[in-house]
């Protein structure tokens, strides 16, 4: 498939006609059993640019990167690097030819020092032994080249995630500095850390490195990127200079239609919630605590109410939720469900009380990767029924068909292994897994993290609808706007302590929540 006409325009506006791409992909195709993940995708990276790769989950971004890094062999198309045709056969070879990748989850050895991590595999040697002083000196030099202040002799595990990511970049750049792929490097970084990362990216761009930047954050695209390639459903949507697109246009091109309108919390919904709040709560936690993870906290969740939990990463949001689901056991405090004391010592006990929990860690705590979409969907319901009362195959098929269409899960084939789905679609399967058990309280821990705008809006709408239908929701998210848009009340956590419960009466703003997080005002 040829690129759309916009390609030429963006090129002439942004990069001079005499410049040639350092990396060029033409007509790249990749098929998985039953799915065409990439269908004739082109991509051009010029030296000294930051190029965004954007698209919804399932659009083919991850697959394209895996083809580029040699994790998946492509089924068609060509790759040209610095004017020469290359065949990328594996990650190591990709690195040797000049394509380095830094992943969202850092792929280094936490037990080794920063210096060792930077130079592992290329250690300076003397008399056949590793020349330690030289190793540290070179590492320090490389770190200084990028204006970073990192103690290279410290073990990597003692560094923050952001620093670890920077170390991974230093390492990648030192190996080969032609093309650097950053796969969602910012999703677990805070604002300052992102700024630091961008400084480094800017410096590398000035040195002539072509950077392919994959992210879900629109702001960041406009902050740092020069051009953008947009994928949709495995096809190339277009290549643009970032200045030629407004944000709305960018999002529209990603999802291929009008952005789903998201209602703000309506007055009717507020009134209903206020009414429910007057009655008995569905769940009440009294001085619930677990040593080392969360100080005693009280929390009421009423029928049909969305309670948000806000706080910084590691402030105890997840820990609090895990106690309510019995995923961790509390040391003290009580839980009452529907006015009766409930000992939620295990997830199974919580499930019996119609409580459901979607973990923030999809891969490690949600998916059973080699099982199919259908099997993952029915797992919670089947576990609740016990082994002796199996759901018939026809019932399973029916449930799978229903929920795949209800949540628009793609690809819409129930027999695909779930690990072949994109993050957003995996998240929808996990949501459906719980929804089909008909829970009364749904605990969602970062349900929209790492998924694209389209799926994000769908999940937010779903939460609103469910609460309208009388389901209680505990909604945890690092994005305050999102928490605020959905929640009737917001519990604010700080340093493993719930410092306030704020009512979202229409005057609550992200700034006020932030101030509460910062100062820890008492309720």
């Amino acid at each position: 498939m040829a690129g759309p006409p916009t390609t030429d325009r963006s090129l002439t506006t942004e990069v001079g006609a005499d410049r040639r791409p350092v990396l060029e992909l033409r007509g790249v195709r990749k098929e998985f059993p039953g799915v065409v993940a990439l269908d004739g995708v082109d991509l051009r990276l010029f030296p000294g640019e930051v190029h965004a790769l954007m698209g919804e989950n399932g659009a083919g971004k991850s697959t394209l990167i895996k083809v580029l890094t040699g994790v998946h062999p492509s089924d068609g198309g060509s790759v040209t690097l610095a004017g020469e045709d290359v065949h990328i056969s594996g990650p190591l070879q990709a690195q040797q030819t000049g394509i380095s990748t830094v992943y969202q989850e850092v792929n280094l050895c936490p037990n080794l020092s920063v210096a060792e991590n930077i130079l592992i595999g290329r250690e300076p040697r003397r008399f056949g032994m590793i020349h330690w002083p030289e190793l540290r000196r070179r590492a320090r030099e490389l770190v200084r080249d990028l204006d970073l202040d990192i103690d290279v002799s410290a073990p990597l595990s003692s560094c923050s995630l952001a620093v670890q990511q920077l170390v991974a970049i230093v390492r990648a750049v030192d190996i080969s500095a032609k093309v650097l792929i950053l796969d969602e490097p910012t999703s677990s970084l805070d604002r300052d850390e992102v700024r630091q990362l961008f400084t480094v990216m800017g410096r590398l761009r000035d040195q002539g490195v072509a950077i392919l930047f994959v992210t879900h954050f629109l702001d960041q695209v406009y902050d740092i990127c020069d051009r953008v390639t947009i994928l949709r459903n495995g096809r190339l949507e277009g290549e643009y200079a970032i200045g030629d697109l407004t944000r709305v246009q960018l999002v529209q091109r990603m999802i291929g239609g009008e952005l789903a309108e998201l209602d703000v919390l309506s007055d009717a919904s507020r009134a209903e919630a206020a009414e429910a709040a007057a009655g008995e709560p569905f769940l009440r936690a009294g001085a619930l605590a677990r040593r080392g993870s969360i100080a005693p906290f009280d929390l009421d969740i009423h029928v049909g109410e969305v309670v948000g939990l806000a706080g910084l990463l590691g402030s105890g949001r997840t820990e609090a939720a895990r106690l309510l689901f019995g995923a961790d056991q509390s040391d003290e405090g009580t839980i009452t469900v529907n006015g009766e004391p409930a000992a939620l010592r295990t997830p199974r006990a919580a499930i019996a009380h119609k409580i459901a929990f979607c973990s923030e860690n999809r891969k490690a705590e949600g998916l059973v990767g080699e099982l199919t979409v259908r099997e993952n969907l029915v797992l919670a319901l089947q576990a609740a029924r016990g082994w002796a009362r199996p759901l018939s195959r026809s019932k399973q098929d029916e449930l799978a068909r229903h929920w795949i269409s209800a949540l628009d899960i793609r690809p819409a084939s129930p027999e695909t292994q779930i690990r072949n789905l994109s993050g957003g679609n995996q998240q929808k399967v996990l949501l459906a897994r719980w929804l089909l058990t008909d829970p009364r309280l749904l605990i969602l821990d970062e349900p929209t993290r790492g998924i694209d705008v389209g799926a994000k809006a769908e999940i937010q709408k779903l939460v609103q609808r469910l609460s309208g239908e009388g389901m209680s929701v505990l909604f945890i998210s690092a994005e305050l706007e999102e928490v605020l848009r959905l929640s009737h009340r917001v519990g604010v956590l700080r340093d493993h302590r719930m410092v306030a419960t704020l009512t979202n009466d229409g005057t609550l703003t992200p700034e006020r929540i932030m101030a509460t997080i910062a100062t820890g005002a008492q309720k």
Partner: protein, 349 residues
Amino acid sequence: MTKHRLFWPAAVLLALLLANVAFNHDFFAIRVKEGHLYGSLIDILQFGAPLVLVALGMSLVIATRGIDLSVGSTVAISGALACEHIATSASPAALSTVLEAVGISLVVALVLGLINGLLVARLDVQPIIATLMLMVAGRGVAQLITDGQILTVSSAPYKLIGGGYWLTIPFAVILAAVLVALTGLLTRRTALGLLIESVGGNPTASRLVGIRATGLLTLVYVFSALCAAVAGLMISSNVSSADGNNAGLWIELDAILAVVIGGGALTGGRFSLGGTVLGALIIQTLTTSVYSMGIPPETTLVFKALVVIAVCLVQSSAFRAKVNLRRPSSRPPLNPGRARNVEKHEVGA
């Protein structure tokens, strides 16, 4: 068709059988002699029956990410207990005596399986260590039961289990087939199979959806021990004696191999009982072939090892891809450890 997960095990089994014809033209012949079926194929089924059973139990254990090294010892203990009971009984040939002997063996196996299961499921001991204890101690226990002697019994009903015939078919084959079928029904007609695969595939996620992993884990180790006990009865019945030292020696390794050849992954998750049965039959065919092809006995183990390596390579999709796609532009030598890391990291990202 090659995509079907049982294609390669079945193809390998067929190839091994055909290879035998070259050495023995009557290999596929089955005759009826004195009302019994005779022939090489029947031998493979009959002598393979104990391995099929042990591998059956093993495949469920492996599906939960576990391993059961103690099955060989359980085979020995089970045979020793049964023979000891029959030998010391007043009427060794009575059906009731044999039933008692079988009952004792099965109950003891149940206890042994419970011990394994509780060590793994409750106390969180690594399966390889938990079952290694019984593997080592069990042989000693078997010898204690028979006072270190090879205990010989003479009991017609007992002989039936491993060496007798029913409707012209070896009784052991019928017994194994029935148990395989029952296990298939129990795992696939109920939700047991799905729950076991889920626990093996992702234990943390399984706990969070409310699956009672402790019970399931205990169950698979008990099941494995019971399978091994029945196999032990077959083996000792076939030779009408109990040999604490050699009965079921190394059968745990053959069983693990059978599961792997059948397509099961030691990392847990998906299991295939059909694949396991094919795997066990491949190993038994190999053992039979070694004799029928007249391979010198001192080289049999090496021969077996070579065939097993070949079988595993044929089944490895990575290996097949390498052979099929060997391009003129030779790829640089990959550091396998690193390549694997990257891929693991990437799956489902």
